[in-house]
């Protein structure tokens, strides 16, 4: 297995768009997801690692050895494609055995490997089928088996589940995760779905405009988004602007349209900041006597386990999640109500840019 390190990887395309520089370390046996909106450069990055797109600058190190000059077929990489891309003129068995065949494995070893993977993925009964005789979910399993057959050092998955329906997608996420853990293969997974990334990854790298903006375990990224982009993309949503009002005893006080937060160090008075507050950290109350901030209710949308309440707070939208059914019922009876809301100072994250 392998440690993968991307160093200053850059690609500039003829139409002027560019990706990179990308720096990223993928640890041995880890599953890391490149997460970002479409057009962010995730797939380009993946295809540079695979060897389908040449990098203009930078290096790709597999266990400290640069593979940038190797063609795709010599990089010891397995890949599952967005379109699945199974060979339509071959059976399931022939598809999975294609890699070992190309590597000229002895026949018995190939058969053993194909059967082992088929067992692992539960597709033994499909081995003799033609590709047009299997379902979408089965095709994904075959594609995964084919990618793993040659025992590659690194596995790449390019939005493999995007064409499947949500239930099947969820089931396969779990399967991919468990197989990846069992095989212990270093894996890079590309997706634009936050749910998928969080469900499957050891770590997530958020990609924007061809660069990695934040890397971390899912909880860390969700709780402490580094930038406004990350905060908004992950759906934690609330980004508010504040000004540093004063510093006292090494502590700074930030004013957000009347809400005062404390407890931050090393800030200069007068500095403007953007802060992210997760919806679940905001508490809504109908008690108007408190000195907490007030907002006008714009909409209430029921969700699984909670209600999503959007407030207008001096022109800015604030989204909060509430499980208080009595409160929601009351709010729904009379539209355009004003409520008070509050959150703990330490739940507000200062964003970098």
């Amino acid at each position: 297995m392998v440690n993968v390190e991307l160093k200053g990887l850059v690609r500039v395309f003829a139409d002027g768009t560019s990706v990179g520089p990308i720096d990223l370390l993928v640890k041995d046996g880890e599953l890391i997801t490149l997460l970002g909106p479409s057009g962010a450069g995730k797939t380009t990055a993946l295809r540079m690692i695979a060897g389908f797109i040449e990098a203009d600058k930078g290096s790709i190190l597999f266990n400290s050895k640069d593979v940038i000059s190797l063609p795709a077929r010599k990089r010891s990489v397995g890949m599952v494609f967005q379109s699945v891309a199974l060979f339509p003129n071959m059976s399931v068995y022939q598809n999975i055995a294609f890699g070992p065949d190309m590597a000229e494995w002895p026949h018995e070893r190939t058969v053993r490997r194909v059967e082992e993977l088929a067992g692992l993925l539960g597709i033994q009964h499909l081995l003799d089928r033609k590709i047009d005789e299997i379902s979408g979910g089965e095709a994904q399993r075959v594609a995964l088996a084919r990618a793993l057959a040659k025992e590659p050092a690194l596995l790449l998955l390019d939005e493999p589940l995007s064409a499947l329906d949500p239930q099947l997608r969820e089931r396969l996420q779990t399967e991919i995760r468990s197989i990846q853990k069992r095989v212990g293969i270093t894996t890079i997974y590309v997706t634009h779905s936050q749910d998928e990334a969080f469900a499957i990854s050891d770590r997530v790298a958020i990609i924007k405009d061809g660069r990695v903006v934040q890397v971390g375990i899912p909880e860390e990224i969700y709780d402490r988004p580094a930038t406004e982009f990350v905060a908004k993309f992950l759906g934690s949503g609330n980004v508010l602007e504040g000004v540093v009002k004063e510093t006292k005893d090494g502590k700074s006080f930030i004013d957000i349209n009347g809400i005062v937060l404390d407890g931050r160090e090393d800030l200069t008075v007068g500095e403007t900041l953007r802060l992210s507050i997760k919806p679940e950290d905001i508490t809504i109350s109908s008690d108007m006597d408190s000195d907490s901030a007030k907002g006008r209710v714009i909409s209430i949308i029921p969700q699984v386990g909670s209600f999503k309440i959007t407030l207008d707070f001096q022109g800015a939208h604030v989204v909060a999640l509430s499980q208080d059914e009595a409160l929601v019922k009351k709010l729904r009876e009379d539209e355009n109500q004003t409520v008070s809301f509050s959150f703990r100072s330490e739940d507000a994250v200062i964003l970098k840019d």
Partner: protein, 548 residues
Amino acid sequence: MAPRNKGTYIALATPLVVLTVLLVYPVVSVIFRGLTAGAGMTFTDTVIFNWPYLEFTIFQAILSTIMSLLVGLPGAMLLARLKFKGKNIVRALIITPFVLPPIVVVIGFLQMFGQYGVIDSFLMWALRSGSSVLNLATDIPGIILAHTFYNVPLVILLVSASMERMNPEIEEAAEILGADSLQRFQRITLPHIMPSLIAATILTFLFCFMSFPIVLAFGHGSYRTIEVQIWNAFRWADYGQASSLVLIQILFTLTLALAYSRLARSSDGARGPTSSIKTSSLSSYRPTEVIMIILYFAAMLILVVGPIASIFRAAFFDPIAQRYTLDGFRYIFSGEAGGGLRPLINSLFYSSLATLLSVGLGIPLAYAHGSKTRFLRPLSSIMVLLPLGISSITVAYGLMTAIAVPTGLNINPWPIIVLAQTVIGLPFTTRSIEISRRSIDPLLIEQADALGASRLQRLFFVELPLLAPGILVGAVFAFAMAIGEMSATLFIALPQNFTLAVAIYDNLGVRKFVEAGASALILMVACIVAFLAMEKVSEESVGGILKW
């Protein structure tokens, strides 16, 4: 669209009836009568006598097919994979031979590869020779080369279209699994393009098997195909032999046409994101590969562009007097007996009528083809396919014997010429109308219904306007086919019915080269203008007629 009343049925059945009368009945009847009437050779005698010609027909068709595949396959791969400026122009140039009338191709070949042609003149100059050095536009080399010229576009079009439909990720998957470029071609690309390759092979073989003007012009009577022999036998009034040959030819061609239609229906299933076709620029190839690619394009330039460009020279250069002259154009606009004006007017008149008829039959035929009614759909498919498998000479022979003679039209058989041209062009017209019909959003029609349009209103204000581009393309196709048609017309025409295409052949026979050349130039310009118009209209509506 499921027909809902008697009127619709009658409308849809009309072309089927017309084709039965104009195609099925004449052909069946000449075969039957020729074989039973006892005029001329028996079937067995025919087979024995024509054995060498049958052998030659198959031999030249196989050789031409192999050549077309060898030349066409690299072109298809380059067209699908190579990214370069002016690709559309190259594509259009490569397709051009396909729309040229065979007799025009003959003129271009004589001028490019023939005695005192462009290449010969160059060699004579280079070798300081006073006499002709190289004549490729005659006998077997001429036939094979001209057939190759004709069918390479077909191979390139069909195969490159299939390659472009291939999901590029499939090849990448093979690459990342360790397959090198040769293994990828063998195990992935070749199986994918195989149906289109077989289709191109069958069609090329079929066209070469039934080829008439090229074999007639370059064979000089010593190399004859079955098609030429049918014509000869008819001229010798040996109807027994002619009919026996028609039967033999039809057994071959219909089998092939049927095989082709089966294949066309079941062609490549797995399609990927066509937008992301993997192309690469010339700079990403190795130097030796670049040299090969450039050499290939140079060879194509000589083979494909050479004859087309040479037609201009043929129109002005008199190889006998070795001088440039405008006599060819004087001939065309001369209304005297033996002048070119009459054939020109005949050409325009006949092909206009054939166009009208083709469209009139093609629209209901296209609907019948798409209908879900039992009988109607398979019957119309067969009717559309039949002219592909029945040679022009056979069509002409059938119409002359079964329709013209009993009705007395053989005294002045111009209506028979129009009918023959209609029947021969109909599959192409129908096809382009059908493509357009299929691309109409059924919701639009339903919308018209929902808004309270009557059936007639719906037809005239919604369906026909939507179908208009397809009809226009079909009409231009019919016109180009009709105006270039020589085989059936030559078979049927009396001197007063000569069209420009027939007059070219006639002038060649009496060595009036500039007259033939000028006529060829006019035909070529007409066909190329028609082709460009077709491409323009169809690109705007259904994305290119040539993508079928």
